[in-house]
Symmetry: C2
Subunit: 589 residues, 2 copies
């Protein structure tokens, strides 16, 4: 037995309150070892006299072998401690020997001696399932369908340039506006969208608007605050939620508070609202557009996002900043009834400010959704006190690697199991799943502009627990390299639209909404004769997905008897083809 592989930690992704009655416990072990694992658990205070001996009242339950990756197998169990308190340890059976694994390490149990002593100081502790500590995302945010709009490039009745161009850059203002978007809400409703995420729309210098000048004003290029009010009302009328992009890590260089520091230096009352290392604040000249003439890389006299002088970092611990930004957070909820905030560069914002932001937002609207832009493992942000979910690149990366043929089927299986073992079930449902965004290459371009492979990417995302996002235009088969090419104008010309892709996406959305199996977290992954076979199941039925993930045609096709086919790409023998169906059966779990 590889003792070094055995790992558990209380209050982590391996031990969390699923709800205030239920504790999920996982144990990491080496995949090479053939083990039988049980959880020994009980209330720390429940003792009774058994045969003249003061004994701990406990339960022993066998854990389920659940996730295997390249190195580890994770065992899983869900328990409901009656008094909400649990002390627990792991009983490991291996080659006729039994070990107890607890906080002091792994000890062999000789003739049941350890069993009888019950020294609970060796046990892991989940002290209390307090209901207010349970990480709970708004119920509406779970397993819903998002659509991401980049406002300058979606729609307008008054385009400033030819809307059919295919080459764009970030200094190009195309003229997309909120009125235009509002007129297209019925289009989104028809597609089946349930929520729209807008990249920034507040007054800012750049086209992308990530350098805010006025957090209370809709950028005049996009319209007026009244236009936005109408947009939200229209969305809500169509049952669509609205999420804005909150850029609270930094502001724009031209923000009046920063400009005050630029002008008045150490005399500015705002000088500590930023992190200024040296006065005067700037040693570079600006051009007519308010941008630096030269790029002062790594020599900024103040802290910034990246090394961008246009984006000075807020000191969110300063009372003026805190009050100001929290007012912004509540202003758009109170006066415009928005439903969520996506927080830009949220991993660089202090946890402290994120906690205050959550409280402020929830105080005005109890089910406000807080989404973080965290690209890495994000559990320290998902403890219930900060965010409800993150942009789930932890899922995107294994999908990308597999579909780009950077990882083989076995690696993909391991990657997916690692993802599932590390993503607790109470956070997975509200995750913002995505295959591309304004920050990445478009999925179609990533997959060599092959619409068939792009469909597989969306299919594999839609069958995961969480909320899939459609990056505007993907449903029409849009393509594009990295920024700025991924921000081309939305295709409205029917001749250039991919009607087949639209219909495929519509079907996927419909299935996500109507088939609960699409949203359960666990799935099995197998391969047979070069065919990827994924399965999810509950008590009554199984969801089965077959994918020919290779460029070659298949020789062998499985038997689809008893399978109700819900979506397919045509003949499964073709390269990059797929099929999704449901089997009605009684599963015993």
């Amino acid at each position: 037995m590889n003792k070094h592989a055995i790992f558990h930690q209380a209050k982590s992704h391996l031990s969390y309150a699923y709800d205030h009655h239920t504790l999920h416990v996982l144990l990491q072990t080496s995949k090479e070892d053939d083990l039988l694992i049980s959880l020994i658990h009980g209330d720390p205070f429940e003792w009774k006299d058994i045969d003249g001996r003061f004994s701990w009242v406990h339960h022993v339950d066998v854990m389920e072998k659940r996730y295997t990756d390249d190195l580890y197998t994770h065992y899983f169990i869900s328990i409901k401690p009656f008094h909400k308190r649990v002390k627990y340890a792991f009983l490991i059976q291996h080659h006729q020997k039994t070990y107890l694994y607890g906080t002091q390490g792994i000890k062999e149990i000789m003739d049941g001696v350890l069993f009888k002593t019950y020294d609970l100081s060796h046990y892991f502790n989940f002290p209390y399932l307090n209901h207010e500590d349970v990480m709970e995302s708004p119920s509406w945010s779970k397993n819903m369908v998002w659509y991401q709009i980049f406002p300058d490039r979606f729609y307008t009745d008054h385009p400033k340039v030819d809307w059919s161009i295919e080459t764009v850059h970030n200094d190009l203002q195309m003229g997309g506006d909120l009125k235009g978007i509002t007129s297209k809400i019925p289009y989104l409703k028809d597609l089946g969208v349930e929520g729209v995420y807008f990249t920034p729309i507040f007054h800012a210098s750049s086209m992308h608007k990530y350098d805010t000048i006025d957090y209370h004003l809709i950028d005049p290029q996009f319209g007026t605050n009244e236009d936005f009010k109408l947009l939200v009302e229209t969305c809500h009328k169509h049952g669509i939620k609205v999420m804005l992009d909150g850029v609270f890590n930094h502001c724009g260089f031209l923000h009046p508070m920063f400009q005050d520091v630029v002008k008045h230096g150490t005399h500015s009352i705002y000088k500590d609202c930023f992190f200024i290392h040296e006065f005067p604040v700037v040693d570079f000249e600006l051009n007519a557009h308010g941008k630096p003439k030269r790029y002062p890389n790594r020599k900024n006299r103040y802290e910034t996002f990246g090394f961008t002088p246009m984006m000075p970092k807020w000191n969110t611990s300063h009372p003026l900043v805190e009050d100001y930004l929290l007012d912004v957070v509540t202003y758009w909820i109170k006066h415009y009834d928005i439903d969520g905030w996506r927080l830009d560069v949220s991993n660089e914002v202090s946890h402290d400010f994120l906690r205050k932001l959550r409280m402020a937002a929830r105080d005005v609207k109890k089910d406000t959704f807080i989404l973080g832009e965290n690209w890495d493992s994000s559990l320290p942000w998902l403890l219930g006190d900060q965010m409800d979910a993150v942009m789930n690149y932890d899922l995107s990366v294994p999908l990308w690697k597999f579909l780009e043929h950077q990882s083989d089927i076995h690696t993909f299986k391991h990657d997916m199991n690692r993802y599932l073992a590390r993503t607790p079930k109470h956070v997975i449902d509200a995750m913002f799943n995505l295959v591309c965004s304004h920050d990445t290459i478009r999925i179609k371009k990533r997959l060599d502009d092959d619409a068939r492979r792009m469909k597989i990417a969306y299919l594999l995302m839609f069958i995961q627990a969480g909320s899939p996002n459609i990056y505007y235009g993907d449903e029409m088969g849009m393509t594009g390299f990295h920024d700025p090419d991924n921000r081309r104008p939305m295709i409205w010309d029917p001749k250039r639209q991919d009607a087949d892709m639209f219909s495929f996406m519509k079907t996927l959305i419909h299935l996500k909404k109507t088939l609960p199996l699409m949203s359960i977290p666990d799935l099995s992954i197998d391969v047979s004769n070069d065919l990827l076979i994924m399965k999810k199941q509950d008590m009554n039925q199984s969801l089965v997905i077959y994918v020919n993930y290779q460029a070659q045609p298949l020789k062998y096709i499985p038997d689809f008897k008893d399978l109700e086919i819900l979506i397919d790409s045509g003949d499964l023998k073709h390269p990059y083809s797929f099929l999704l169906g449901v089997k009605h059966e009684t599963n015993h779990s």
Copy 2:
């Protein structure tokens, strides 16, 4: 190489902001493997053209092999990222091969290929060292000397029973009071005490006062609120901090809010201030002292501490409870100028309430110290948003096991290294270290009433980073089994006092205050000829501790040349003897 043993996690005990300029990074590996580990790290946004190639600007620094326990060796490094952002991974050299360990696992580097690609999505991320997220305990709370008083049993001019009794029980009220304690503050000052922790003193039914009736009133048995004011003033005059015991997990059965629920049931406005499962609330009769006639074990109709019907658990998420308890927290700081709160059963109190408690306390007194009663690994509580420290049983347990001869010298060494690897350096300094308390057997009794071994226990605690606590009377050689025997009256009779122990304790305290080496975290542990040798060092000197930890006399004694002996037990050859000294030298680190 045992790949399964290799483990790291960002934002954990293996990766934390030591201060807002410094990141500490640790890597777990198997102790069996002979590895060379380096950290490859850099700013995620710092790229430049090197020989026509867009390359990531990074540093490679060798990590130090630091802590070895029974299974693992932990490597350590401290870095100061200039822009406060770090992406990092580990370069592992083993048998002429080099591996990169990152978020996607361990990959062999072939001909430096991975090195050249810099796919930062494989790197761990510490996104930003935000100053307000740094876990920072009040500076006064670090490496100071605490003294714990159990108020009924410390001192009074008017004892209710014979103060020399050696048999006590928890229903016995001895009459210790605040005036008595106040008169003994000069005694504590003389001993060298810097802070006093009082177990509860608010109005309650029991002798131990953990079942509060009135959180704003000093228990009449102990005196008046005015008496307490004088006590605090006296302490402060003598440079001694005051910490009260905050019992916020539960109140007493006789608390008016709970009594209102008992009386009015579902009509009580306080019915949701507790967790009532069934009305009427009680199905048991009370005796004349307000205690249940029979003990309704595990059948309470409401949630309690343990299964104690006398201690109904507060629903701290209820606004009435939150306002009430936070008012208590600030009341004693504002009006009586206390310096800290020790939180009873803090691990069962919600994280949510603990965050609010911290904010409320810090708002009225910036350097209020918040100490948790957590018996287990407590990092989820020590993230900077909840507590400053915990009662450090993580240190007590290895000391107990070793001195009770339950673990041998090698196990002790491993246990101490595991403790040091798991206890980040930014939290260790304020830890409340203890060898016994009102909740455990007294250290002297634990060690068979052997004063020599008891001295070794205190010595080994005092040389650790953190704040050692003296449980009242230990300095006079008091003994006692578990509760209630550990709560005997303080020995004031000079004939029964252990003057030698007092002088030993006074010397230890003096050394803790004057010798900075006593407070650095790392120490080396070795054994030579049955002699335990511990060392701590800085650039200028070494602290050396020798302990004969066995019942047998030693045959071999080392050479003490160049050692300035600061404290010793007499001849080191004797069983259970010890010596602590300082060597002045230039150490190269």
